[in-house]
Subunit: 381 residues, 2 copies
């Protein structure tokens, strides 16, 4: 690929993506073995010498020891809290618990809270770090591909409420993100693929040359090494470009929802049962549907939709609703979920559509009747 926006670091195989958000600017380091060097990377950027590690049972069992060793070797006095793994941890109850642990450890404004885990731990911990003493330092160590390329950029933190996911939270940019590519070797194939759907998304939004590159190099990305590091760095850079242009999500940032309107509706339809569908799989199907739907509206060529489907299928992702195990509700039910996700104004929806690979745009006048009939044609049986 010609455009290598993410800069190389002295350690040949590492990348650094700078997220230029003024006072809230920060670095994302991407490389092999960063957890073992976390203490040094954090201590050069943060004044305080107290640290708190928030992790979950699964991730903690694998990486907590190495992180603690590195922090202590660099003079940090660290405490830890290990929470249950899973989406239910994003609750008021656990938020209260995290805040209590941070206050009990006397974490002050210049001390650091470290999220060691996937999106759930990152979202919960980032929220707690932003409200304890009205904000203490916050470092993310994302341990899934999805969280490395998605939740490590953008500053969205929060918890779930009984009314829905992510309904309570704040924008809180981290002070540093350490994306250790070595931890991805312990992910299941399915989990890695699900994260890959978000990688491909950045190409489809507005980086056609990145999508080209992924079509040619995805096997190397899955295998690990330099290509994987490069794909993560370019994904972070792509998301950072969008977020910097629209930090508080008033406009352009909506493009990051490419594939997500259909995807969220499918996730809801499966009752968020990860045995049937995980987020990235929903996004993969949703992206194929968004390209198909754009072709049906004569906005894009059907060839582009086929190209997207071919690539996602090639890496092993589901691309059709029929691939989701179990029964699906009728199209009318899916429309209800879409209408809850998006606001319907005068029968019209806001949707991310596309004019082709890497040419997505925000359309705020999509007739919901068109979406409904499209869904009817795409449901199996």
């Amino acid at each position: 690929m010609s455009t290598d926006q993410a800069s190389e670091r002295p350690e040949s195989s590492e990348r650094l993506v700078h997220v230029p958000l003024g006072e809230r600017a920060y670095d994302i380091l991407i490389g092999d073995g960063l957890i073992g060097r976390a203490g040094g990377e954090i201590s050069t950027r943060i004044k305080g010498r107290k640290a708190a590690i928030i992790t979950d049972e699964n991730v903690g069992a694998l990486y907590h020891g190495a992180l603690m060793d590195s922090l202590e070797a660099d003079g940090f006095e660290a405490v830890s809290l290990t929470l249950p793994a899973g989406e239910k941890t994003k609750s008021f109850e656990h938020l209260t618990k995290v805040c209590d642990v941070l206050l009990e450890a006397r974490i002050e404004r210049n001390d650091v809270v470290i999220a060691l885990g996937g999106g759930v731990i990152g979202d919960l911990t980032g929220f707690a770090a932003g409200i304890v003493r009205r904000g203490v330092r916050f470092v993310q160590i994302p341990t899934s591909l999805l969280s490395q390329v998605d939740s490590s950029v953008g500053g969205k933190t929060g918890i779930n409420a009984r009314q829905g996911k992510n309904l309570v939270g704040i924008f809180n940019q981290p002070d540093l993100v350490l994306a250790d590519t070595a931890v991805l070797n312990t992910l299941s194939e399915r989990e890695f693929r699900a994260g890959y759907a978000e990688v491909a998304k950045y190409g489809l939004i507005d980086k056609p040359e990145f999508f080209d590159w992924l079509e040619r190099n995805w096997r190397e990305v899955f295998a690990g090494g330099a290509a994987r590091t490069q794909a993560i760095a370019l994904s972070c850079q792509a998301k950072a470009d969008v977020v910097v242009a629209d930090e508080r999500e008033h406009g352009r940032r909506a493009l990051l929802n490419l594939g997500h309107t259909f995807g969220h509706a499918l996730e809801a339809a499966t009752g968020y049962d990860s045995r049937r569908l995980v987020h990235g799989e929903g996004v993969a199907i949703g992206m194929v549907l968004a390209h198909d739907f754009s072709a049906r509206l004569n906005l894009a060529s059907p060839d582009d939709a086929k190209r997207v489907e071919h690539h996602l299928k090639e890496v092993g992702l589901p691309t059709r609703i029929a691939e989701i195990p179990g029964d699906m509700p009728p199209a009318e039910e899916l429309m209800k979920a879409i209408a809850q996700d998006k606001k319907v104004k005068g029968g019209q929806l806001t949707f991310i559509l596309t004019r082709g690979i890497g040419q997505s745009f925000v359309a705020d006048d999509v007739p919901s009747s068109e979406v409904l009939s499209f869904l009817q044609d795409n449901l199996p049986g």
Copy 2:
């Protein structure tokens, strides 16, 4: 007074203070009967037409009906939540409850949450409004003198934790503050006087001409009418000037703590028992002590300290530790409370001291041994 910084409004007796915080700029309206006109003032500034009123049992009984009527007359669809009065309401439990009510009412980003009450309701509601959907519109209707001149400016919101007060929260500027001076007529003398201590504080920080004016006009301020409105407007303006210079409290904003280091220690020593001491009374004694201490360090004239004491005593505020009913702990115990409030570095404390009326400054090199011996000399018995 010569410097009338707060602009007059068309309605002769009203004042408007603009707080120029860029994207977060907002207006404070101060005047008689604003609750009855709240719907109109809010609807010209906020797009949404859903509203949620958060209040407490005492304030709600007096003003909820008038506020609801005004909102409905201006086309708002409003829900209400009435919480127990008192400091204990600033808890995670009540925060969860407020968020639940806002989400259940489907309050969206452009809809409005209204805090109708004193500092407790304002702090809790402002926090909830800042985290539901990562921020919805927020209007404060402060109903005590203290909250009108203090918590309505500055954007500090939050709740208490078992480790201490206000330890969890965010900076969240309101979209509008309506300070209805008519509600102050229902405050007890003691509560009004306690709020007045913060009014006097603004003169003592850096507005000597305002302190002069208060010495001459305090009876009119207590009686109500134009002088009271003027005193509130100038207090809001004075605080706004400090906050605008230092929104996130990195430097100059510390001046707002004049009298508060001693005051907080005295409040803690009474176990926050409001029958013995309320916040404003602690601040009054604290301000006299801060001026005395500055004189003892040869920074200010003892005459200035006497003038401060004379004025606060004249309005009926306590000015000496001996006036607090019940036993006080020894000076060493008070020092511990001060050391918890402030950081002690190498035996030195950061303290707000003064060179005279309206000439306060941040001193970061006050020997704690000096503070201890000063306290020993000021404790009764």
